[in-house]
Amino acid sequence: MLRENNPRTFFFLSLFFVLFVLFLYGPTITITILSFQGPTGGLVFPMRGTSLHWFGQVFQAQSIGDIHGSFFRSIQLGLIVTVLTMVLSFLAGLAFRYRFRGSGFLFYVVVASLIMPSVVVSLGIGSLFELLGIERFWWNAGLGAHLTWTLPFGLLIMFAVFNRFDKRLEEAARDLGASGVQTVRYVILPIVASSLIGVGLFGFTLSYDELARSSQAMGALNTLPLELQAMQTNATTPVIYALGTMTTALSLSVIGVCLGTVLLLQRRQARKGSDAGKGTV
């Protein structure tokens, strides 16, 4: 389609992209270097020797802070938030394609949830649960707090996805006798599937990293960012850098393996002469 694209433009845009990625990885690179601090080193330069000491420490119980427990809570919460964000945003995205009473109000409520400083939202949720006498956990108040943060992103991205979405596709499906559910299942969903995965990815990242909105809503057990933040009230060691380095390394290798598998499969399919799996982009 854009095959005739200017190779020079391609080069400069690629360079721009690489620089952008490098910028995104700036802190990550520093974290990686410093995670090899010697056993007596701290969180900043100078390096006090190099060692793998802190990587070993990740698997030990820390004197201050419960990294393991909070890590698994964060992962669980992140996954639940991911699924709910995908489903709820998709449904609401469909709804917003109709005119319905209160749609304007709801839209501004969703935007307001982005604007309101998270500490205020968090305090509001925490206090509400206190007034109602409900004990807070990560899976009730905490989950709600995270959804007020991820859903605005999910919904608005769905807006971008449904933007100028060709309604004739659905009409064609209906004309062929498909029910509403069938239309969604066989026409809309396949088209927006990859975007939905994107929404899920967004949801997970936002939830996994959420701090301010969680602060008063989690009850007695912290999520990872909260625990790490609280650990700042005492001396913290490069063990948190080692955790960061391991997260990054693991994520990158998972992506690498997946990519390799996909490319391998595509090559096999190409050899077989099938055109399935080819994108249209």
Binding site: G42, L226, A230, N234
Partner: protein
């Protein structure tokens, strides 16, 4: 108006919401029953867990493990930033069973009615608690300063449930003290290269862009006050309770200093102060004792510099929220008693803090350790932290010397002023300037 918003909604005849809900599931009776029966969900042999909310200052795994071993009580820490501790205490008391709070925070927490006065008769070592908390004196009988919120001002309640303080000992303590300390400036002697003797040095243009102050208004304003007084800008009537004019002058002084580029930043959490000092971003700043230790452990010279104008002190303690009842309440007292029985005290003393009951801590430390930490003597063997890192080489003495030299030279305590509302607004102006 003595009732607060939260109180308006919170209580139903003394039963806490949490107990209410738990009992409502087992009893059809509801709220009234909950308050009379206490905690109907208790089973005799069930192991007990206490939810302990506080900052990371005392939340050591070693303490929880030892406590479990000695008493069978499981301590579940909810570690929070210092800001969140106060917010939790005031707005969500049902989310914890024990609160580890600083004394100045009590001025804000007690009026909410969320803490219960602790019955001193149930505290075994009560008589041995350092008289700083019970009489406003050091163990040798000398008076401690009352500038700021000296613990004695907020240690006692007239009765178990009260929203006001009394300055005389009664049978009910707001908090049972855990740790306290005398704070001063931390410096990098290698980068400064000359003796530092006064708080005034913090604003010396020699350290332009390399100084820092603490961005917690209640504490930072006191450091600023020490500096302003040392420089001669302001003469305070009562530094712990400044008038509006004094606040104006102090903040104006801070803004002027900030605009001149004196401050590298304003630090907020403990770890930040360690990182700034270790990386050389700052060479002189407000600091806490264990932070100095942490910098030194990285092989970087750092001194907790005693100053001629004296120290700023703080104290923290354990409180019990009003909703705790029955067996949980007993467990809270058991934990407090365990905490004061020596092992924990020795552990915290070795962090560079002071502990509430000195006698029992002493029994759990070697004579050499006691000499180094408490008496200002050079240590014979290397001094180690509770987690085994070396803190001092043989022959070194502690910065600032003995307990009496340090706690005896305290001139102010962390504070919440009568003009707190005004002060925080002005502090915001300083940050925004």
């Amino acid at each position: 108006m003595a009732t607060t918003f939260w109180r308006l909604f919170d209580r139903s005849g003394g039963a806490s919401r949490r107990d209410f809900l738990k009992s409502a599931t087992t009893l059809a009776g509801g709220a009234a029953a909950a308050s009379t029966l206490g905690a109907p969900y208790v089973h005799a042999q069930e192991p007990i867990t206490l939810r302990y909310a506080g900052t990371g200052v005392n939340a050591f795994k070693e303490l929880a493990d030892k406590c479990k071993e000695d008493t069978g009580i499981t301590i579940q820490y909810t570690t929070l930033t210092s800001d969140d501790v106060v917010k939790r205490a005031v707005t969500q008391p049902s989310s914890f069973d024990m609160l580890d709070s600083e004394y100045w925070m009590l001025k804000k927490i007690i009026p909410s009615g969320n803490l219960r006065g602790m019955d001193v008769k149930k505290v075994k070592e009560y008589d041995k608690i350092v008289p700083i908390f019970t009489k406003g004196q050091l163990p040798d009988g000398s008076q401690t300063t009352r500038v700021g919120i000296a613990p004695i001002k907020v240690s006692y309640l007239p009765e178990a449930e009260s929203t006001e303080f009394v300055e005389e000992p009664t049978g009910f303590m707001t908090l049972i003290p855990t740790v306290y300390n005398a704070d001063t400036l931390g410096i990098r002697p290698d980068l400064i290269g000359r003796p530092i003797e006064s708080w005034a040095e913090l604003v010396n243009p020699e350290f332009k862009g390399k100084a820092s102050i603490l961005n917690v208004p209640a504490i930072g304003i006191m450091d600023a006050g020490q500096v302003a007084q040392a420089v001669g800008i302001v003469k305070y009537g009562d530094m712990g309770n400044m008038t509006k004019q004094e606040i104006d002058k102090t903040i104006a002084f801070l803004i002027e200093t900030k605009k001149a580029g004196q401050f590298r930043g304003l630090w907020k959490e403990f770890n930040e102060s360690v990182n700034w000092m270790a990386s050389g971003e700052t060479v002189i700043q407000s600091m806490w004792s264990p932070a100095i230790t942490k910098v030194r452990q990285q092989g970087i010279p750092c001194v907790y510099q005693p100053l001629k104008e004296g120290y700023r002190a703080w104290a923290a303690g354990l409180g019990i929220p009003t909703h705790v009842e029955g067996r949980t309440l007993d467990a809270c007292y058991e934990f407090v008693n365990w905490f004061l029985s020596g092992w924990a005290g020795a552990f915290l003393n070795r962090q560079g803090y002071y502990t509430a009951v000195l006698d029992t801590a002493k029994e759990n430390m070697t004579a050499d350790e006691w000499g180094y930490w408490m008496e200002g003597k050079p240590c014979v063997e290397a001094i180690k932290s509770p987690t085994g890192e070396e803190l001092a080489k043989p022959g070194e003495i502690r910065d600032g010397g003995s307990f009496y030299e340090r706690m005896g030279n305290v001139t102010v305590w962390n504070t919440v002023m009568d003009e707190d509302r005004y002060m925080v607004r002005k502090w915001n102006e300083f940050v925004a300037a």
